[in-house]
């Protein structure tokens, strides 16, 4: 499968009479976005706002972050099975508004929603302080249940990203990149001397509000399966997730999966990026056993020499991570795992809820319990009302001078377990 990504570099975002991209500036007609979001009768009101890198702005509680993209050639459309009809994506040509993002916020759905600061120390911990963000502050209909609330907000974000992505359809990209994987036997012939490397992505699927969707299918209900890595670039995987803000993968991170990109960067040089396998992190032991059996069997069927395994979330899924690592290693395949840590605020406790000696090559996204004090911001998009109850906050953590003390657990994307961030620990 061959996909060309065409990047249109966005350096600023502004309101405008007509939505368009001009000289790297993304202009947005707020009324059109509002009308689009309010088509969902579960949503009572939406406020469209903007946040740019370096501004004294805090967005909270953040639910999802999405990158605007559009398919310009090849089958299918963005977010297949969810926004576009089901069709296999990942080939042809896709345009990307690089440097722009849609961020959803509003009243809280679950405890595990994030803080996104555009400047100050908090900005160092989130990748989305570097993007020009269109923010949707979404208020649901009164009495709407939390699952429906999450669903409505998720769709509003995706629809808005598609709306913005459409603006790039006729544009000429500033730069392009091509990604290609060949069918199994052809791939072996293409690089016979390079190690065959796979990527096992564990998708958060612990239950309602802790879900991920693959072509619209709840990942709880999948068996581990194969994908072309380019499919994720067209939105085949989306987040429906309320796990802790620091280590869930927002949709943006699925679209830009850094392991996929960094394996492609070495493809044909030091390694042969043969396959991407997705698996889940269900809470039942039988599911954990079945999925890790299946995943390790797939790795063996594909004659892989090495595998990178990424986790999503922490605690319970540490068990899935260790099961996958142990079983894949037992097949004679070399593994590297990526996780993050919960070593306590003092860093003195053990970092994981489960461990196995086979996990002897581990990359960490850092200790999520590390405490940081975030400065007062001139402008709050959303509400600071929840910073004491979200995961990583505590009662009375907001101070009189407007500063907020939290664990970095509360910061969107701080300890990414697909290695999207630079944070680590020793």
């Amino acid at each position: 499968m061959r996909l060309e990504l065409g990047y249109i570099h966005i350096t600023d975002i502004r309101f405008g009479d007509a939505s368009k991209v001009e000289d790297g500036v993304l202009y947005v007609n707020a009324e059109e976005v509002e009308a689009l979001v309010l088509r969902d009768e579960r949503i009572t009101s939406v406020k469209v706002d903007m946040a740019r890198p370096g501004e004294s702005v805090r967005i909270t509680p953040v639910k999802d972050v999405i990158e605007p993209r559009v398919k310009v050639e090849g089958p299918g459309g963005m977010f297949p099975g969810v926004i576009s009809p089901v069709d296999t994506v990942g080939s042809g040509k896709t345009h990307v508004l690089k440097g722009a993002a849609v961020v959803t916020t509003g009243t809280i759905v679950g405890f595990q929603e994030g803080i996104l600061d555009m400047s100050g120390v908090g900005a160092d911990y989130t990748p989305f302080s570097k993007t020009n963000n269109l923010v949707l502050v979404i208020i649901p209909r009164k009495g709407l249940g939390s699952h429906e609330h999450e669903h409505a907000v998720r769709e509003a974000g995706l629809k808005t990203a598609v709306y913005l992505g459409e603006l790039a359809r006729e544009l000429t990209p500033d730069s392009t990149e091509v990604f290609e994987t060949l069918p199994l036997t052809e791939g072996v012939k293409q690089f016979p001397d390079l190690p065959r490397v796979g990527y096992v992505q564990m998708l958060q699927s612990q239950g309602l509000l802790h879900d991920t969707y693959v072509y619209g299918v709840d990942a709880k209900r999948i068996l581990p399966t194969l994908m072309s890595p380019t499919e994720v670039m067209d939105g085949a995987i989306i987040s429906g997730n309320c796990v802790s803000a620091c280590d869930k993968n927002p949709t943006y991170v699925h679209q830009n999966n850094p392991i996929v990109h960094d394996l492609f960067a070495r493809h044909g040089k030091d390694l042969n990026f043969a396959a991407m396998i997705i698996t889940n992190e269900n809470v039942y032991l039988a599911d954990k056993i079945r999925s890790s059996d299946w995943t390790s069997n797939l790795c063996a069927f594909l004659s892989l020499d090495g595998v990178i395994i990424s986790e999503e979330g922490f605690g319970n899924p540490d068990t899935d991570l260790m099961m996958n690592c142990r079983k894949i290693t037992d097949k004679g395949i070399k593994t590297v795992v990526i996780t993050d840590e919960y070593a306590g605020q003092d860093g003195a406790s053990q970092s994981l809820a489960d461990a196995h000696e086979s996990a002897d090559a581990l990359v960490t996204g850092g200790n999520a319990n590390q405490v940081v004090t975030l400065p007062r911001m001139d402008k709050i998009i959303g509400s600071e009302e929840y910073v004491g109850i979200i995961a990583g906050g505590w009662d009375q953590n907001k101070h009189e001078d407007g500063t907020i003390t939290v664990e970095i657990q509360a910061i969107t994307g701080a300890t990414s377990e697909v290695g999207f961030a630079h944070l680590s620990a020793r």
């Binding site: 490397v197 390694l271 003195a348 319990n369 290695g419 680590s424």
Partner: protein, 349 residues
Amino acid sequence: MSKKRVVHYINQFFAQIGGEEMAHVKPEYREGPLGPGLAFGPAFGDHAEIVGTVICGDSYFNENMEEAKAELLKMIKAAKPDLFIAGPAFNAGRYGVACGAISEAVKNELGIPVLTGMYEENPGADMFKSAVYIVSTRNSAVGMRDAVKKMSALALKMLKDEPIGASSEDHYIPQGIRVNLFEKDRGSKRAVDMLLKKLKDQPYVTEYPMPAFDRVDPQPAVKDIRSAKIALVTSGGIVPKGNPDHIESSSATKYGRYDLEGVNYLSKNRYATAHGGYDPSYANEDPDRVVPVDMMREFEKEEKIGSLYRYFFSTVGNGTAVKNAKAFAEEFSKELIEENVQAVILTST
């Protein structure tokens, strides 16, 4: 600005007094730098200088540790140092222990920053790595230049009151405490690089060595469950509505103790979960699903158990440090033992 004052500790060998045959020499003080101390001068520049060197034989120190420490402390204190350096000891075992012990003593007694350096397998490293910063060196004096470079850099950071980074940044032996740092490469690239090394059987360094896990052996079965007093303890976060103890939704620092007198089941109007790590809908719909008071009352009535203990204990097991969880249990277990509770049902989420 005047230079900061540093006092340096070395053994008889590096003081050029002699080898093993002179290891019995007692502590002595000499003005200025000596031996390896001379190498620190250029690195310290205008910021600091070694004003004095304390020397002690390795045998004397290890065989008379308390006296040796007391004598040395007196000499060190008199030199009014802003910082204390010992070694580097490389892989010399008794010298390493001496460096660690005197550094720890100076830190505790004089309250000034201290550091030493040695090879990671030096017995002194294991004994003192969590007490003082020990720069990781090679196993012999061939690594002197590199050791001095790293030790002087860390010393200057301490003298300037700059925050000490993670062990990999400031080259000290990990202290058993996880410290965050920003790496040059993002995590995914580090993972790909690590995998390529592993595939080629080249050495690589994992970012988190697997811990030795505490495994708790199950207790012997309760002999007579029909007369046993049983308590309910949960990490599932069930608390009276409104969360009166403000137990955190994640990384809990406290637990609650709640009275079950006259409570036959946990009503959704009076109890809810404070846990932020799972979908609370089903727990909140019927909190008995997490803390099964309803079933326990039934069993009491049917005389399947002796009784349900009057209080249940609850915390949030979500990103909560093992250290905290252990401390909670150690505290409330005392009450459970005093009250002759014979068994506990631990529920999670």
